[in-house]
Amino acid sequence: MKLMVSFSKKKVREPIIARVVKDTGVLINVERARIEPGEGEVLIDVPNGSADEVSQKMRDMGATVRVLEDAIHHNETECVDCGACISICPQDVFSFDDDWNLVLDQKRCVLCGRCLQACPHGALSLLR
């Protein structure tokens, strides 16, 4: 399960992820991190069964945690099912079904945003 962890640097001075890994023993996979001067945002992947425990620990430390379900918004009216997004996605989020409809495996997305650049029809956007 993917969790988006946001924190302000002022509020959280501790190494949150390291602390949670140490305390819970849950192996956390960091898929994406954006660290700005005053705040940070980290996308992590945790085993489904441990998501609640990890979230709770992180919240206790002052971070905001939300489960990432639909990372990308796919506007089916704009989309022409060309597939320009397929080969540039490092996570294989996009594919065709048997009828050449574009299908998304949202769970795989790590929010890199490359598909937004590749879509000629502006049919993709990131849900923030």
Binding site: S87, Q117, A118, H121
Partner: protein
């Protein structure tokens, strides 16, 4: 056995025609044999839906009172070509908005019009005795135009190269986003469903043939511009009434970093008159080959990486140098199918009749490159062959002395064998002197990733390298990586002034 076009049209009128799409035809031929298929099938419909930059529409606005001869015309801030007549203009799909850049262009105006949205017309003129008015502004719907005729100079390429990128940076092209180090392959075209792929000898495709264009019944005008049948790259010039078209089959698009283009749906119904039509429509994706070319090389003739079939491209991956590379298409196969299916419906319902070409293509025609009478200067013509270099083992102070004596700001750094391994600039040396630490030698302060050029590179490409990397000089190296000159922004500056004379 042969079938006449009259016979086929009679069957269409009577509602008895057997119509199949080009996707179904190979199996039918395999099952019934060529003679059997000729007897059984009357029409094969084709379709493609992809980016076709060379598209646009002639618009006639009607006369104003007092009348104006519109010299410059804008629709939603996208300029249309007004040098046609008083109130006619040609709006090109790729023309970009003067206010919104590549997020809105001619293709978007066309899509807005056929979607029933209004567009703002602005036009200016000098004013003449017969056309005294000098400006006009109006808000128009598609129905307000006297005529809105799509005329696309180049549609439905018979074949198109697939693209990859061998450089170490992402490229933004009309073939979409190309990842570095051949990280992906993009391709265009519907393969065995594409119109010209089903008639590669232009036997039933030619002037006057009725087609599906953008959701309306259109017509093939003739060979498209840049059509090169002799090399298997024929194109179609098409026309149709914009007022009959549908946004399902005309879509504006933007390739980031490249610009605006338009996705157009084109389908040609092929009358199954003889065995040649049967054979050519039995084509499969496995039989249709194209070339993967390297868009990382900024030349007209880009190097071919390998030949590949549409079946491989459509499988989602191809092999390049032993590695699996993901492919994606820029054109929509799903929409191409919709085009062929819609066209099948039209023929079955008798709402379209077929015609033989009134003029056949010139199959010997081939496109040639532009005859350039004034060639682009090469790096060797403007570079400075006097290069002051330094070796990586020398002290920084030696670099400072050499920069001063050489009156230059850039020192290529050579290893003991004389090969280029780095570069130091006045700034690097100044920085090292101002913040003295244990870094004493040139190798400690040099930049190791040197952007370089070659003597036979076009100066435009060298200039692009300077721009992109925000630098002001490029060492010029021979194939062995020996420095044979320097090209600086100053050298390029010398070219200005004489450029357009």
């Amino acid at each position: 056995m042969e079938k006449s076009i009259e016979e086929i049209n009679t069957r269409i009128r009577d509602g008895n025609a057997r119509v199949v799409t080009a996707e179904e035809m190979p199996d039918i031929v395999a099952e019934l044999g060529e003679e059997g298929a000729l007897k059984e099938v009357d029409v094969v419909t084709t379709g493609t839906f992809g980016a076709m930059c060379s598209s646009g529409a002639f618009l006639n606005f009607g006369h104003t009172d007092p009348p104006i001869r519109m010299e410059r015309v804008w629709l939603n801030d996208v300029e249309a070509y007004g040098g046609v007549a008083a109130v006619d203009a040609y709006l090109g799909a790729t023309q970009q908005s003067t206010t919104q850049g590549d997020t809105y262009g001619g293709a978007h105006v066309i899509e807005d019009l056929i979607s029933g949205r209004s567009v703002e017309l602005r036009a200016i003129s000098r004013g003449t005795d017969c056309y005294p008015r000098r400006t006009v502004t109006s808000t128009l719907l598609l129905e307000d135009f006297n005529d809105a005729v799509m005329v696309n100079p180049r549609n439905a390429y018979q074949n198109y190269n697939a693209a990859t990128n061998s450089t170490d940076r992402t490229l933004h092209t009309y073939m979409g986003l190309l990842l570095p180090n051949s990280g992906n392959v993009s391709y265009s075209g519907a393969g065995a469903l594409s119109p010209l792929a089903n008639d590669p000898h232009y036997h039933r495709i030619g002037s006057g043939v009725p087609i599906f264009l953008g959701g309306a019944e259109g017509m093939i005008v003739g060979q498209g511009t840049q059509s090169s049948p002799a090399t298997g790259f024929a194109t179609l010039m098409t026309t149709g009434d914009l007022k009959q078209m549908s946004p399902d089959f005309i879509r504006a698009a933007t390739y980031q970093g490249y610009g605006v283009t338009m996705y157009v749906g084109v389908g040609v119904p092929l009358p199954v008159t003889d065995l040649e039509v049967v054979r050519s429509t039995a084509v499969r994706d496995e039989d249709l080959m194209t070339t993967i070319v390297d868009y990382g090389v900024p030349h007209r003739d880009r190097p071919a990486i390998r030949r590949v079939s549409y079946a491989e491209l459509k499988s989602g991956k191809v092999e390049i140098n032993g590695e699996e590379v993901k492919t994606s298409s820029l054109s929509s196969y799903k929409k191409a199918r919709e085009v062929a299916e819609t066209l099948r419906g039209w023929v079955e319902q008798g709402s379209i009749e077929l015609a033989l070409p009134t003029r056949h293509f010139n199959a010997a025609k081939r496109t040639h490159p532009m005859r350039e009478t004034k060639v682009v200067p090469m790096v060797r013509e403007v570079m400075d062959p006097e290069v002051v270099c330094i070796t990586e083992d020398e002290p920084i102070i030696a670099a400072a002395t050499r920069l001063l004596r050489g009156e230059t700001n850039h020192l290529p750094v050579l290893d003991t064998d004389g090969f280029l391994v780095g570069i130091v600039t006045t700034y690097d040396v100044t920085k090292a002197v101002a913040r003295p630490d244990d870094r004493l030698l040139v190798r400690d302060i040099m930049t190791r990733k040197v952007v370089r050029t070659t003597p036979d590179e076009a100066v435009d490409i060298a200039a692009q390298k300077l721009n992109r990397n925000n630098i002001s000089a490029l060492p010029v190296v021979d194939p062995a990586n020996r420095v044979i000159g320097m090209l600086t922004a100053l050298d390029l500056g010398k070219l200005l002034g004489g450029r357009w004379q």
